[in-house]
């Protein structure tokens, strides 16, 4: 082709607009394809966010479920403890009053009070009072043999109470591990990534958005962590059952079906023997025998009292828990991050040099694709709070204890309005153990980015 022909050809091409439509269409299609891919990535972020929230919710609910179960077990042991005391009290009361009756019949109670008191004391402490008493010797001795059974029964009561309390202590210490393990499994089955990967990944991303630096946030390296122990959700608050051993204030024979005040002994009555008239008939009768008892209670020491009167129980109620689960960052779905011209690490990109400098540089200074990608779908986390909710078994008035966080209305609580305790719900030894109605509930969800304290209620 000579020079004339080439010039002619160039002139023809200058006026030729064929192919321009296809070029424009291709460019638009390319832009739209990019939009497609980014919409795909955006949907993936939303999907991961929902997955994280689902996992956190499931973990929080699971933890609350097991917390409720642990508290119910402890509460039932409290109930058993209480009913056991009540039952043994009935037996002991009968035996001791029979002995008192025997003493009274033999020694003519009204004529020699001082002698009677000393003899009763001798009976209770295991002495052979009956043999020293003149009169109807035979009848009194048979009754006193019954009376003597109260002593080993009381010892059995002491050892049983200790076993119950030891079991409750073991549960209160071990049960939170169940909460953590099962909550983690719930998060895993809900699609969460290992928390020790997701949370640092999210923190690194969040910090890089705020600060112009990239902080190397990483969790302690646990390379050999067995898969069974890999946490998929982590608690941000205490998972303790938050129960502790506290002394009871009420006597085991407070049976409300005999009257609103029957058996009610307040602190004044316990310390002021001059007010026995306020006591119910049961206390008056019992006081005749129990004042002579050994000071050793079911729980020796300051927490206990004689004969289970002031036994201690595990009481308390947990606060709310907050759990976190998340999805770690992941590669951009379409692999766009592998393109050099979209990768911010190729700084300055060759194409920038080209357009800014208009120098004769090649479009790419490397291959179009690189091995690693910094264009990633960011990590997300979900936070969820949960709390055990329910009505205490020992509530006298359920409306007083139906608020959140009062799952256990403990045996020692008092209603300030009536001055009565909450144990009237237990109607005696024959009523058996009354179950409490505790259930796990999600109380709110804290979303990242919201003001602290802003809660979003979940209504199921």
């Amino acid at each position: 082709m000579d020079l004339f022909s080439l010039e002619k050809k160039i002139r023809q091409l200058r006026g030729d607009d064929s192919g321009s439509v296809l070029l424009l269409s291709g460019m638009m299609a390319f832009v739209m394809a990019i939009m497609v891919l980014y919409s795909l990535d955006t949907s993936q972020v939303i999907y991961n966010r929902i997955t994280s929230q689902n996992a956190a919710d499931s973990a929080a609910e699971t933890a609350a479920l097991w917390q409720a179960r642990g508290l119910n077990v402890i509460q039932q042991l409290n109930d058993f403890h209480y009913v056991f005391n009540e039952t043994l009290f009935g037996v002991e009361f009968g035996e001791l009053t029979a002995c008192v009756g025997a003493d009274t019949a033999v020694i003519k109670w009204g004529n020699d009070v001082a002698c009677c008191a000393s003899l009763v004391g001798a009976v209770i402490t295991g002495g052979s009072c009956c043999e020293a008493i003149p009169g109807d010797f035979k009848n009194a001795q048979s009754l006193c043999n019954i009376c003597k059974q109260a002593i080993p029964e009381n010892q059995y009561q002491v050892s049983t109470a200790k076993q119950i309390l030891d079991t409750q202590q073991l549960i209160s210490e071990f049960w939170p591990a169940l909460e953590v393990v099962f909550a983690s499994q719930a998060a895993q089955q809900s699609g969460a990534d290992p928390a020790l990967n997701a949370i640092p990944s999210w923190m690194g991303g969040a910090v890089s958005k705020v600060l112009p630096v990239s902080l190397p946030i990483s969790m302690p390296s646990l390379p050999n962590l067995p898969s069974a122990l890999t946490p998929y959700a982590l608690p941000m608050t205490s998972v303790s059952l938050n129960v502790e051993q506290k002394p009871g204030k009420y006597w085991p024979w407070r049976w409300s079906f005999l009257g609103p005040n029957f058996g009610y002994v307040d602190e004044l009555a316990l310390t002021d023997v001059a007010a026995p008239l306020d006591w119910g008939i049961g206390e008056v009768a019992c006081s005749l025998v129990f004042v002579f008892l050994s000071p050793q209670g079911d729980i020796p020491g300051s927490l206990g009292g004689p004969w289970g009167w002031k036994d201690s129980y595990y009481i308390g109620h947990p606060g709310y828990m907050t759990w976190v689960a998340g999805k770690t960052n992941e590669m951009e779905l379409a692999g766009l991050g592998k393109l050099a011209w979209l990768n911010p690490s190729s700084s300055p990109p060759a194409e920038v040099n080209y357009w800014l400098g208009q120098s004769n540089v090649q479009m790419f200074n490397a291959s179009a694709a690189i091995s690693s990608s910094t264009l990633q779908i960011p990590a997300v986390i979900g936070l969820a709070s949960s709390q055990v909710e329910g009505t205490g078994v020992t509530a006298e008035d359920e409306s007083l204890v139906s608020e959140l966080g009062t799952m256990i209305d403990n045996l020692t609580s008092k209603d300030s309005a009536s001055g009565l305790s909450g144990i009237a719900g237990v109607l005696g030894p024959l009523a058996g153990m009354v179950p409490i109605d505790s259930k796990p509930h999600l109380i709110g969800v804290y979303l990242p980015g919201n003001t602290a304290g802003t809660t979003y209620k979940i209504y199921h």
Binding site: D17, S18, G19, S20, V21, L22, L24, S25, G26, M28, A29, M32, A33, M35, V36, S39, L40, S43, I46, Y47, I50, T51, N54, A55, D57, S58, E61, T62, L65, R69, N72, V73, Q76, L77, F80, Q163, I164, D166, T167, L170, I171, L178, V181, F182, Q185, A186, Q189, S190, G191, P226, S227, A228, L229, P435, I436, D437, S438, K439, P440, H460
Partner: protein, 197 residues
């Protein structure tokens, strides 16, 4: 001198050729745009329904954990999906037993360590495409020349999500778990000195 006549004919022929080329280019460009637009619409549609499936999985799992029957939670799809799309929703619920340190917990130790893992799938299987599938899946019935049907399409016609929720019906309200009883017995034995003698 027939040369000018010949030149005119050539010019007219060249203009007709250019007009056809532009028409063909426009048609090709339009096809390209329409293809991308369809792709965009379909991906948006399936992405949205994938997110809806995730929300639905959470809701159905919660229902299962709270003792709602399968029929009831199957109808829950209407809350997450468009009404016309609910017939393309499939819910499955699997009852799993939670484990402790990788070992399944026997119910004798801790009753009801159960968790429901529910999966919600939206779309249609490849095998169902040929029968009755609503829009836009019925478009896949179009037979393209030289392209044989492939089951790989299933990956583009079905999205799913899953969520797990514990069975919250049993909170050990009315009984002590056997393991707790065993602990109490062991405690009694310990007090009696069996382990120390």
């Amino acid at each position: 001198m027939k040369l000018p006549v010949t030149a005119n004919r050539l010019n007219r022929r060249r203009k007709r050729t250019l007009a056809g080329a532009i028409l063909a280019e426009a048609a090709l460009g339009l096809c390209l745009l329409v293809f991308v637009w369809i792709l965009f619409s379909y991906i948006s549609y399936m992405s949205t329904n994938r997110i809806r499936a995730n929300m639905s999985a959470r809701y159905s799992a919660w229902l299962s954990g709270n003792g709602v029957s399968g029929a009831a939670y199957s109808s829950s799809a209407q809350y997450s999906f468009m009404n016309n799309d609910t017939n393309m929703v499939k819910l499955t619920s699997t009852k799993n037993t939670l484990g402790f340190l990788g070992v399944s917990v026997p119910s004798m130790i801790l009753p009801d360590p159960v968790i429901y893992s529910n999966s919600v799938a939206f779309g249609t299987n490849y095998t169902d495409i040929s029968s009755s599938s609503p829009f836009p899946f019925n478009m896949l019935m179009v037979k393209l020349p030289f392209i044989s049907p492939t089951e790989m399409l299933t990956n583009f016609t079905l999205v799913s999500a899953h969520c797990a929720w514990p069975d919250v019906s049993d909170t050990y309200n009315g009984y002590l778990p056997p393991s707790i009883t065993a602990i109490a017995v062991a405690e009694t034995a310990w007090e009696a000195g069996i382990f120390t003698q």
